[in-house]
């Protein structure tokens, strides 16, 4: 049964100091030890999606590490949908909870959920860019570490891992992998009923539609701007005819869509579907390592590139253990933690760090062998459309295909 940390007065003062400190980066640098000291003995409730045993096991490892190194007790609050957390913090704010009276200390987040929390003032910060390990992040090579679905992070969340739209299939059933949305349509016509995507607004379903949007939009730059009615009409003009053409050849003639990407993966594993989609390029390799997919499964990204993004951790405005949460976030950016996360044997989630710039010893941590199921040839990462595109895209999809 979780216990609430009993905040001693001295500790609370330190915490206030740490909170104020992060407003000015220069001073924050000098007070990192103060934050570490304030964090000692705190319990951090980390609300994180828990649908995968690798993720859960990795979080347990993080908990052991921060307990030993910083005396921070990390509790994984297992959730199915981050929107629940947004809602909970919002409800707490509406109920008049002030700072350090909340139930969430750290949340795994990105995209619309971050945009909503930032817009509504539900986040604590800025703090992320003052973390000692932040300077290791590849902000130049991975610009999405500072722009979450084209919304500037402004130090309100700290990058944790990378994601890119990836497909995987059993090469025995699908020897020739389609290299674009157009090629996917050709495949669907040849083998009707063997391809589908999750029903929107499931995250992976939306991502599939966004990938098609990026491929068919006449002007990619317009997608990086907040959506307008005019821009939406122009940029999606070619998308809907494509989806109309694809639909009758989808699984169950596109009259039904699976709930989520996991269901699609299970149907691919059973042989009901030809291919599955994921946002973790290493997912197929993970599943092969866990013996849930055969070794003949291959992963690939479209030749001209697929959309990708970064996922982050953020601290709600009313977190009780803000110092502890920052210590955890900083630990997550350490080469050791990032390397373990990137390792297929543990999780296999691409790192946000600039591995080439790390000292040789740290760089060595990132060496991995050539496991089956890995993406053979990486493709360019295309930026996500601005977060504001998601809602009209989902609404229009639901209007056309949802019923």
């Amino acid at each position: 049964m979780p216990q609430h940390p009993t905040a001693h007065l001295s500790r609370r003062q330190l915490l206030l100091a740490a909170g104020a400190a992060s407003l000015s980066p220069a001073w924050a640098q000098s007070t990192w030890p103060a934050i570490e000291q304030a964090a000692r003995g705190q319990t951090v409730f980390w609300n994180a999606w828990a649908g995968s045993e690798q993720t859960n096991a990795y979080l347990q490892w993080v908990a052991q590490q921060v307990q030993t190194s910083h005396g921070v007790k990390l509790q994984h609050v297992k959730i199915t949908d981050t929107a629940d957390v947004v809602k909970r913090v919002r409800a707490e704010k509406a109920a008049g909870r002030t700072a350090s009276e909340g139930t969430v200390d750290l949340v795994w987040i990105n995209g619309e959920n971050f945009a909503a929390m930032k817009r509504e003032g539900l986040l604590f910060g800025p703090w992320a860019e003052t973390l000692p390990h932040f300077k290791l992040v590849d902000v130049a090579g991975k610009p999405t570490t500072l722009n979450d679905f084209s919304v500037p992070t402004d130090g309100m969340e700290s990058p944790w891992g990378m994601a890119q739209f990836t497909l995987f299939a059993d090469s025995k059933r699908l020897p020739q992998q389609p290299q674009s949305m157009q090629a996917l349509l050709t495949l669907a016509r040849a083998q009707p009923g063997r391809i589908t995507h999750p029903r929107l607004p499931d995250f992976h379903g939306t991502t599939f539609i966004k990938q098609a949007l990026v491929e068919f939009a006449p002007d990619a730059k317009a997608l990086a701007q907040p959506v307008t009615d005019a821009a939406f009409a122009t940029q999606t003009a070619a998308l809907w005819p494509f989806l109309d053409a694809l639909r009758p050849h989808l699984w169950r003639a596109g009259k039904q869509f699976p709930q989520n990407a996991a269901a699609v993966r299970q149907m691919m594993a059973d042989g009901e579907l030809l291919l599955a989609i994921t946002f973790n390029p290493n997912e197929a390799a993970n599943e092969i390592a866990a013996k849930r997919l055969p070794t003949s499964v291959v992963s690939w990204q479209f030749e001209k590139g697929t959309i990708g993004n970064t996922h982050f951790v953020a601290i709600p405005y009313n977190a009780r253990a803000k110092a502890g949460a920052q210590v955890v976030a900083n630990f997550l950016l350490s080469p050791a933690a990032q390397a373990r996360k990137a390792d297929i044997a543990h999780w296999g989630d691409p790192t946000v760090l600039d591995v080439a710039r790390l000292p040789a010893a740290d760089r060595a941590l990132f060496q991995t062998g050539n496991q089956p199921g890995l993406v053979a040839k990486g493709a360019p990462t295309l930026p996500e459309p601005h977060a504001s595109w998601v809602d009209p895209l989902e609404k229009e999809w639901a209007r056309r295909y949802g019923v």
Binding site: M1, P2, F45, N47, A50, G51, S52, E53, N56, V77, K78, I79, T80, D81, A83, D84, V85, V86, K87, R88, R90, A91, E92, A95, T103, E112, N113, A116, D170, R173, P192, G193, R194, R199, R252, K255, Q256, F257, P258, Q259, N260, A261, A262, A263, R265, Q266, M267, A269, D270, G271, E272, A290, K291, R292, L293, P294, A398, R399, G402, V403
Partner: protein, 549 residues
């Protein structure tokens, strides 16, 4: 000197008990209604393109499943009663009752899916399929899979509540006598059952039936797994809206919950009205005796039910250790114990589940016994609808209220808040399970006790409760099973901090790993089964050792 008479003392006690239960129940219901009654939310609900279709699907699946479950349970009971084989009929029930709805749906899905066991067994040698056929046998747009799963899950519940009626000695003896009398008048045994006993039993099963109807109309977890998807039923839509980060969508979800509650009310009224008409028609029986020629064959219905449960449990067991398992292989091509290893690691969830279930069912049992003992019958009859609110209100609406109240009282994320939420959900089931036996207790025992000059407490401790211990134990086991199966209240009121085996199972089901989902479903099943086994052991008849003369 006694300030209060015995009767007014009892009334005081009953009043205190009532306040204890009614205040949180009413508060929760009102909070839910308040959240779900914003006019803007109703407007956007009315404009939702999926609403009409989803509502019709809800009516169809809810009414069809209830009708079939009712008919199926009645047919099984008739056969069991006529052939005096009720005991055999009831033997497998605890396993069926303990099977959580979600676990049943997951296992059932794996039997029926295009890539499921049934077709694997026939492929490719008979069907010629190397890949699963494009048949819509799961999540079918007509909701047939959902109806079948609901019927299979609800028949055991109805049978069991009927059995609690038949456990009353007074009732059983009278009904046997009436049944025999009807036969002497020339009615065949089965027809005598339908004409004489069933109308009486049906009246007594009113509340369980309404619970089944409400459940069928408002179920979320089963419908998510096996129900139609485009659009889903209204309850699933409401649940999806409630999960949305946008507050307007959230209140739209709450409004959909209120709409569901209204649909439950309307359907209940319709059902009870239809039942009354049927009873009136039967009352003017025209004496058709019917032939005795129809000799019943084997108990095919019972075997079918038992067979489906056995296949579901086997599918879960095999699924939990399966690795690579592509169509059309009948058995997994590789096995792994990773899922069970993961389950073992999360022993904390088992402890949380145990204390919550034990605590809430104990409190609910204490309350129910005290209430049945103290409350005047008039109060009890009048207040049952209030006490049964959690049974008939949609879970999606109820959780809105629970969460709202939890926030106001700062109980969210607290163990005490979670225990209260669970107790409120468990209470009506325990009361429902306990009432028939408790209220049917032969009053002559009490008169005899008084005539022997023994105190009320001695009577309760030495006579009444020991005689009722089977009913007490099984009511507690039902409460335990209900608590274990709670998903939404645990998630919302627990602020996600308390992981039970059910929240863990549903969370992992979102990750879609068959082995892990099956393993957790197995655990979710094992706990209530242990509770039922314990109840059966505790409830075994007393044996008195007679001194040898």
């Amino acid at each position: 000197m006694r300030l209060l008479s015995h009767a007014s003392f009892r009334r005081l006690g009953a009043g205190a008990l009532l306040a204890l239960a009614a205040v949180p129940l009413l508060w929760t219901a009102l909070e839910a209604l308040r959240t779900g009654s914003h006019s803007a939310a109703w407007r956007s609900l009315a404009q939702d393109p999926a609403l009409v279709h989803a509502a019709l699907l809800t009516l169809w699946t809810g009414l069809a499943s209830t009708l079939l479950a009712w008919w199926g349970a009645a047919a099984l009971l008739a056969r069991g009663f006529v052939r005096q084989r009720l005991a055999r009929l009831l033997r497998g029930l605890p396993v069926m009752l303990a099977t959580p709805h979600a676990a049943l749906a997951i296992g059932f899905l794996f039997l029926l899916a295009p890539s499921g066991w049934l077709l694997r067994a026939l492929s490719p040698w008979l069907t010629g399929f190397d890949s699963p056929p494009p048949w819509p046998t799961t999540q079918d747009p007509w909701g047939l899979g959902l109806i079948a799963a609901l019927v299979i899950k609800e028949i055991p519940f109805l049978l069991w509540t009927a059995a609690t009626q038949l456990q009353r000695d007074d009732v059983r003896q009278r009904w046997r006598a009436e049944h025999a009398l009807a036969q002497t008048l020339g009615y065949a045994p089965r027809r005598a059952f339908w004409l004489v006993l069933w109308p009486q039993l049906a009246t007594r099963l009113r509340w369980p039936l309404l619970a089944v109807l409400a459940y069928g109309l408002t179920v979320v977890d089963m419908a998510l797994v096996i129900g139609p998807a485009s659009p889903p039923t209204l309850a699933v839509l409401a649940w999806q809206w409630l999960q949305d980060a946008d507050p307007a969508t959230y209140t739209q979800g709450a409004a959909a919950g209120v709409l569901l509650a209204l649909m439950v009310l309307a359907c209940s009224a319709f059902w009870l009205g239809a039942q009354r008409l049927q009873r009136q028609a039967l009352a003017h029986g025209h004496g058709v005796r019917g032939s005795t020629a129809r000799t019943p064959g084997t108990d095919i219905g019972l075997w079918l039910l038992v067979g489906v449960y056995a296949a579901v449990l086997l599918a879960l067991a095999v699924g939990s250790v399966s690795g690579v398992w592509a169509f059309p292989a009948v058995w997994p091509q590789s096995f792994t114990n990773a899922a069970w290893a993961q389950v073992m690691q999360s022993s904390g969830t088992v402890l949380t589940t145990l204390w919550l279930a034990a605590g809430s069912s104990a409190v609910a049992l204490l309350w129910s016994v005290a209430w049945l003992e103290l409350a005047p019958r008039r109060w009890d009859d009048a207040l049952r609808p209030l006490l049964y609110l959690p049974l008939v209100l949609p879970a999606v609406l109820w959780v809105v209220g629970l969460y709202g109240v939890g926030l106001q009282l700062r109980l969210e994320g607290q163990a005490s808040g979670l225990l209260i939420a669970h107790t409120l959900m468990v209470l009506p089931y325990v009361l429902l399970a306990l009432s028939p036996a408790y209220l049917g207790f032969d009053p002559r025992y009490a008169q005899l006790n008084a005539s022997l000059g023994r105190s009320g407490w001695a009577f309760l401790l030495r006579v009444k409760w020991p005689l009722l211990k089977r009913a007490l134990a099984s009511a507690a086991a039902v409460g335990f099973a209900v608590s274990v199966a709670q998903y939404l209240p645990t998630l919302y009121v627990g602020a996600g901090r308390f992981a039970s085996v059910t929240t863990e199972a549903v969370t992992l089901a979102s990750g879609g790993q068959r082995s892990l989902t099956s393993a957790y479903a197995g655990l979710q099943l094992a706990l209530p089964m242990l509770a039922f086994a314990l109840a059966a052991w505790l409830g075994r008849p007393r044996r008195f050792t007679h001194p040898v003369a």
